[in-house]
Amino acid sequence: MVRLSLEELYKEVILDHYRAPRNKGQLDPNDIALERNNPLCGDEIELFLKFDGEKLEGIAFDGKGCSISQASASMMTERVKGLPVKEAGALAETIKRMMAGEEEGDPDVLGDLVSLKGVVKYPVRIKCALLGWNTLLEALEESGRN
């Protein structure tokens, strides 16, 4: 995989979602609302989930923080909306492994999300990129569906 420069990472991946976040705002009604922050940075994410049986029917996020934390959460909501809960959970685990450098990340499976791997080069920012994903995993666990 071609390594992105920081400028490419920002300009081609992060800034689009940062400037025009998808599924941003509150989701009402929801089945789960969960707020998590990154104590070191002050990044905040509140995640709203709505289920239809075993499917993640609706998802939205609210929050503030650096572009990587907010863009990654935006990309996440776009990708997992409508997925079976277990698939969404498995995807979050895959992203976590990829960011930990334990997995290459298959572009055919991950699509755009594979570009988040560009953040691995900036170790202190990995937790920014994972804030939304970790919050999702916790929310799914809380739902008892994952």
Binding site: C41, G42, G65
Partner: protein
């Protein structure tokens, strides 16, 4: 400029290194300073030629080690104007020093209903120890507010220092705002009601001349690593009569006089507070850092930083940044916390790093202050004896680049 910065920079080997292929521009000395060759060499010389434990060997090498360690104590006492070398305790740093006061003086003297006064700008190291002892003792923690410029609301002092106040804990210089606080006035107000004053000088000691007698403080803690010395060392000045009354801190070797199976008597001050083998080489290194700063002259250090912050504040404002803290450089040190609306501090720090520029981004261990300022985080550039206006220019150029990405 009041210092010969080009010649000072030659003393710091780290400036020969490059970051991402660019010259290192180190603007994070408020977090930790770089170390001159003189300090590093002193530590090496200690390990290579003087290393032994202190205060116990009867052989010559141990005497040499003890002389080096106690010589460093004299330097640290002189550095803050302490008249009696026994009033300076070696610690592992400012946090350790403040916790020493918490576990000894505060535990012995605070009672339910007493008040502890801190300020809204305290670093966590001068807040959490007081939160913990307040909880333990049923005392009340109060926070002296700051004004719009990040200066203490001294006009409210009458409401905040009362007959119930037992201790005032304040930083001499804010690590976020750069504010230099009127510690003498706070000491007078504290003493007028019989309270003690504890000063966090971690940020001030490297940058402004300090005299504990002029400030009339009861305790003052500072760290080696922010003032050109090694990590793992610090000093706590305490008024001698208070230190002598205080119970010991940690128990162990070195801090005892006579030990019986079920009780013991304590060593004289300051050794009563230095249990276990101390960080000898680090303390010796701290002494060398004091000597390096003394040779520069702390008044010159302060003058250089006033020039730097004057230049830095103007450059940052001109670049569209919001700079926090006092506008009057007489009341602030060389710390500039700032935000640029379009670029989050963490993004900024990552982008600047690509240019070899090190700044801090985050809450700077002052979360309550961030809430008062109404921000989650700020970027912070801080200056020291080795920084030049050219480096501020490099910072501004890189900021412009970051702004361009986010435009």
């Amino acid at each position: 400029m009041s210092l010969d910065v080009e010649s000072i920079r030659k003393d710091f080997p780290i400036f020969e290194t490059q970051v991402h292929g660019k010259p290192l521009v180190y603007l994070d000395s408020a977090s930790t300073s770089q170390k001159p060759r003189q300090v590093v060499d002193r530590i090496v010389r200690f390990y290579e030629a003087e290393n032994a434990n202190v205060h116990r060997g009867v052989y010559e090498l141990s005497e040499k080690a003890t002389a080096a360690y106690e010589g460093a104590r004299e330097a640290c006492a002189r550095f803050v104007g302490a008249r009696d070398v026994r009033s300076v305790i070696f610690t592992s740093g400012t946090t350790d020093g403040i916790n020493l006061v918490r576990f000894t003086w505060a535990r012995a003297n605070l009672n339910e209903g007493d008040e502890i006064l801190v300020t809204e700008m305290e670093h966590h190291s001068n807040l959490i120890p007081w939160q913990l002892v307040a909880q333990e003792k049923g005392a009340t923690l109060r926070h002296l507010p700051i004004d719009d410029e990040g200066k203490l609301r001294m006009d409210l002092l009458g409401d905040y220092i009362t007959e119930r106040t037992k201790v005032v804990a304040v930083s001499l210089m804010s690590n976020v705002l750069g504010t230099i606080n009127p510690v003498r006035a706070l000491a007078d107000a504290a003493h007028a009601v019989g309270a003690r004053i504890v000063v966090d000088a971690a940020q001030a000691a490297p940058h402004v001349p300090i005299d504990v007698n002029e400030l009339d403080v009861d305790f003052l803690a500072y760290s080696s690593h922010k003032m050109l010395g090694p990590t793992g060392a610090g000093a706590l000045y305490g008024r001698l009569d208070l230190l002598e009354e205080m119970p010991p801190f940690k128990g162990g070797g070195e801090m005892i006089n006579t030990v019986y199976p079920d009780h013991s008597t304590w060593a004289e001050v300051p050794h009563k507070f230095e249990a276990g083998t101390p960080n000898i080489a680090q303390a010796v290194g701290m002494g060398a850092a004091v000597e390096y700063l003394e040779a520069l002259g702390m008044a010159n250090v302060r003058a250089h930083e006033k020039d730097m912050i004057t230049y830095g504040m103007k450059a940052l404002s001109d670049a569209g940044a919001t700079v926090y803290g006092p506008s009057d450089v007489e009341q602030r040190g060389g710390v500039a916390s700032f935000n640029i609306e379009s670029v989050h501090p963490h993004d900024m720090a990552t982008i600047l790093d690509q240019e070899g520029i090190c700044i801090r981004a985050g809450h700077h261990c002052a979360q309550p202050l961030m809430r008062v300022l109404g921000v989650a985080a700020t970027a912070r550039a801080s200056f020291y004896v080795y920084n030049t206006p050219d480096e501020i220019d490099a910072l501004i150029e890189a900021l412009d680049k970051a702004k361009g990405w986010f435009a």
